[in-house]
Structures are given as structure tokens and as C-alpha cells.
């Protein structure tokens, strides 16, 4: 649902999507360290495959996005993660379009960064087995908010194609409720689990 295809948006919109994507990519990649790379590629693999898991909700088919999850796990590197996953999804699965990779990366990547901000502010990155509950709670909130924000961005962009903002928002958010709930629980449980067994995985960012 959240991958916009070629030929739907006006050129200025997907062009500015690319511009924003290139700027954020350049910044986040410059902050990348060697020890981040294995974690980054594993999470990217998960995000890449997640979009193949479909759930049929009412008249439409929705799939997992895992952008909030990527934000919690990777911090600012969630953006390159989403970008690479989108490029692979586009060329290998035919999801979305080539021209819209930029705008799709903004749609899912920026909410991922906001999800990280929520997680960071909520837990103050004080991640120890003792703070497990708090980590789970904010992980869950970040996981859910990531998806909701991605849907709002999508609805805002479709506004330019003449769709009603309110109508589209209600449609995409209501059909994505299962996705929002499942991703929130998934992210929360996993964040709590990692806080217990390997808290250093969140690192100091």
C-alpha cells in the first residue's frame, strides 16, 4: 500500500523526494561506522522481505513495512536501510517505481527517524535488563508511530493527485490497523528482548 508507483505523482513531487533522500542519505552514511554495517545489513534484509508478507484487509492487500522497527534498531542508519530495501524491492519484486524510490524513501525513512527520536527520548538510551519494560513500551510506540506517519505522508502526497485527504487517510489507516498493531508489538517485544540479552546492541548513538 505504501509504495507509490511510477506515473502517479507529479514530477516535481518525486523529484523533490529524490532531493530530500539524497541529502539525508549523504548525512546518515557519513555517520556510519564499520561495526554498524553487519547490523544494518541484517535489518535491511528483514525490511526488504517484510513487504512480501501480505495481509488481506477488506478490499485491499496490506503488507509489513517495519520502518519503525528499523528506526529503533538502527537509529539514523534506518534511512539508508529503508532506501536500500526499497531499491531492491523495486527492481526484484516490482514494488513501487524507479522514479518514486526517492519519495517512497522519504515516506518510510523519515518516519523511521522520528520513531528513533521517540525511542531515544523515551528511554534516554538507558538500555539495561532492568529497564526492559520501559524499552519495550517505547519500542512499541515507536514501531506503531513509524507506520502511522508513513501513511499520513502517503495520504498527503496523494492529495496532489486529486484524492480526498480525509478519505484516503481514513482508508489507508483503517486498513493498516493490523499492521500497526503487529509491528508495534513486534518492535516492543524485540526491543525488550534485546535489552535483556544484548543491551549493547543499541550502542551509543
Amino acid at each position: 500500500m505504501v509504495h507509490i508507483s511510477d506515473g502517479v505523482l507529479d514530477p516535481w513531487l518525486w523529484e523533490s523526494g529524490w532531493a530530500i533522500t539524497v541529502v539525508i542519505l549523504a548525512y546518515t552514511l557519513s555517520k556510519m561506522k564499520t561495526e554498524d554495517v553487519p547490523k544494518l545489513s541484517v535489518i535491511t534484509a528483514a525490511v526488504f522481505v517484510a513487504s512480501l508478507i501480505h495481509i488481506q484487509v477488506g478490499p485491499t492487500s496490506v503488507h509489513f513495512i517495519l520502518n519503525g522497527f528499523a528506526g529503533v534498531m538502527l537509529g539514523i542508519l534506518a534511512f539508508p536501510c529503508i532506501f536500500v530495501a526499497l531499491v531492491l524491492q523495486c527492481f526484484l519484486f516490482g514494488h513501487g517505481g524507479i522514479t518514486t524510490i526517492g519519495v517512497n524513501a522519504v515516506n518510510m525513512g523519515v518516519p523511521a527517524l522520528i520513531a528513533y527520536l521517540i525511542f531515544k527520548t523515551g528511554t534516554k538510551l538507558d538500555i539495561r535488563p532492568e529497564t526492559k519494560n520501559k524499552v519495550s513500551l517505547f519500542g512499541a510506540i515507536a514501531g506503531g508511530v513509524g507506520v502511522v506517519l508513513a501513511l499520513l505522508l502517503l495520504a498527503a502526497e496523494l492529495l496532489t493527485t486529486g484524492e480526498e485527504f480525509y478519505e484516503t487517510t481514513v482508508l489507508v489507516v483503517s486498513t493498516h490497523i493490523p499492521i500497526i498493531v503487529i509491528e508495534a508489538i513486534f518492535t516492543g517485544v524485540l526491543a525488550g528482548f534485546i535489552a535483556t540479552v544484548k543491551p549493547e546492541m543499541f550502542g551509543k548513538k
Binding site: S41, H54, L88, F93
Partner: protein
């Protein structure tokens, strides 16, 4: 006398016949036969083949390479849309769009617009789970990770040397 009368009757009959002739004989009637309906089915790929319900359909008639918007409509709950082709136009470009998702297909009546079993099997395979795509993707990711490692390691080495 009798023969003259019968000739007159015959002549009158002939005139009557000519007067009552249907106009068809004066104009050539052309009847063309063609398939009256094209069926469009739109569904999402990824194994489940969920129909694209309530999608915006745009049909473009292609004549001499020129595209012209022929008609628009919406798919039903089963992702189906039906339209009658324009006489004399055999090629149509069909675009279906719903909430940012768009798919296109060209239908050509002249080349036989029916879908053969082989084509259907191929479409179903395409719509199914792209196993090769997943494996390829993992391969690319491993490669990218390797490249990223080299670049970041070089950067760190430089920083270390500068100190």
C-alpha cells in the same frame, strides 16, 4: 382481351412491387461483427492475488500510434472492469490505479486478446512469491555490506593515521 387484362394485372403488380421495394436494395448494408466486451482484471501480486477493488481505470484507444483517452471507470469488488471496444480500434492501453498503486497493460484485439493457459500460468508465477528475487536481494545485501565495510574501515584508518 383476356391476355391484355392479364398483362395489365402483371404490369400493375410489377409497379406495386417496385414501389414497395425495401430501401435495402438501394443501399448496401454493411454488418460488422466484433467482440463486444473486453474484460479487465486487476489484482495485487505477492501470492495472495488480492483483487484491486474500486481502482480507477483509464482506457486509452491506440490508433496509428496515437493514444486517446477512450473511457474511464472503476473496478468492482472483484477487481474486474468491462468495456466495449471502439469499432475500428483494436489496441488499448489499460491503466488501473488505487491509492498510489498503478499497473498497466496493453490489450490488442488484432493479436488475439485472449489469455492462453501458458500466459496465465506465467502471470500467476509472476504474481506469486518471488523466491529468486529474495535470494538475489540477499546476495546484493551481502555485497553492499562488504563494500560498506571496506569504505568505513578505510575512513577509520585515515582518522587513526591523522591522530
Amino acid at each position: 382481351m383476356k391476355t391484355i387484362r392479364s398483362v395489365v394485372v402483371l404490369a400493375l403488380l410489377l409497379i406495386l412491387c417496385m414501389a414497395l421495394m425495401p430501401p435495402a436494395s438501394a443501399h448496401r448494408v454493411i454488418v460488422q461483427g466484433q467482440v463486444s466486451e473486453i474484460q479487465i482484471k486487476a489484482y495485487y501480486g505477492g501470492g495472495a492475488a488480492t483483487p484491486m477493488a474500486d481502482g480507477d481505470v483509464e482506457i486509452y484507444a491506440i490508433k496509428d500510434g496515437q493514444e486517446e483517452l477512450y473511457l474511464t471507470g472503476k473496478t468492482d469488488d472483484a477487481g474486474m472492469f468491462y468495456f466495449a471496444p471502439k469499432i475500428g480500434v483494436s489496441e488499448y492501453r489499460v491503466a488501473v490505479e488505487a491509492t498510489g498503486h498503478k499497473g498497466e497493460e496493453t490489450v490488442n484485439l488484432a493479436e488475439g486478446a485472449g489469455i492462453t493457459e501458458a500466459e496465465q500460468a506465467e502471470a500467476e508465477k509472476e504474481a506469486g512469491l518471488p523466491v529468486t528475487g529474495i535470494i538475489t536481494g540477499f546476495g546484493y545485501l551481502a555485497g553492499l555490506a562488504g563494500i560498506a565495510m571496506i569504505i568505513t574501515a578505510r575512513k577509520m584508518k585515515k582518522q587513526y593515521e591523522n591522530k
